[in-house]
């Protein structure tokens, strides 16, 4: 799966995107984020505050409870601040 990061999450991880092999037992966005956190100290720091994070699965807004269902792209970012 392709992971994409934006804004402060991108900065903290130091990457704008990366590939990630989804473990068989990761069913939801939240499951996956916990696994991604374990990847490095930067990942852990960027993703530790789960309630503050927002997600998009294949470019549709998602929550930690959203099932992955074979999606191709997970985006992780802070609350949006456009306009």
């Amino acid at each position: 799966m392709k992971l994409v990061y934006f804004a402060s999450v991108r900065e903290a991880i130091g990457l704008s995107s990366e590939e990630f092999d989804v473990p068989q037992d990761a069913c939801t966005v939240g499951d996956l984020v916990v696994r991604i956190s374990a990847r490095s100290e930067d990942h852990a720091r960027a993703l530790h505050d789960l309630p503050r994070l927002r997600f998009a699965l294949d470019q549709n807004m998602a929550t930690a409870d959203t099932p992955l269902l074979g999606a191709q792209e997970l985006a992780i970012f802070p609350p949006v601040t456009g306009g």
Partner: protein, 146 residues
């Protein structure tokens, strides 16, 4: 007429809105968001999620046209570095009568603020930058629309 545009260069609000004036309606409403002249801020930098951004703005316009009788709607949003005083976003709507255009414009900018995947950070005169925090008042305004 439904138009969504992401621009990496300076936007001219009146040019974005020109087409709305030719739809035969009696009402044209617009909102322009500018980089505020806040203490020490020289520019803001806007990042977005290419692909999702356009889809998100288009679906906001679909939601507005489902709710109000509109002849047209336009959203243009800047990305990249935008200096103080320059436009960041232009929202415009046209309708036969004024209530629809006025309400749809407010709806579009309120929802854009909480739904569209843009992130901004402020650049300061001393060279530092800071991500802008989302505001609970924006959430509250967006929720008024149900």
């Amino acid at each position: 007429m439904k138009t969504v545009r992401i621009s990496e260069t300076a936007i001219q609000p009146d040019q974005e809105l020109t087409a709305l004036a030719g739809l035969g309606g009696g009402a044209l409403s617009s909102f322009t968001g500018l980089v505020r002249d806040d203490d020490g801020v020289t520019a803001i930098e806007l990042e977005h999620y290419p692909g999702m951004t356009e889809a998100s703005l288009s679906s906001l316009i679909e939601a507005a046209t489902a709710r109000w009788s509109l002849l047209g709607a336009v959203i243009t949003h800047r990305v990249g570095i935008v200096p103080v005083g320059a436009p960041v976003v232009v929202v415009g709507t046209a309708s036969l009568h004024r209530a629809e255009a006025l309400e749809a414009t407010a709806f579009l900018i309120d929802r854009l603020k909480t739904e569209a995947p843009f992130w901004k950070r402020e650049h300061y005169a001393d060279g530092t930058t800071k991500w802008v925090e989302a505001k609970s008042s924006d959430e509250a305004r967006a929720e008024r629309w149900g």
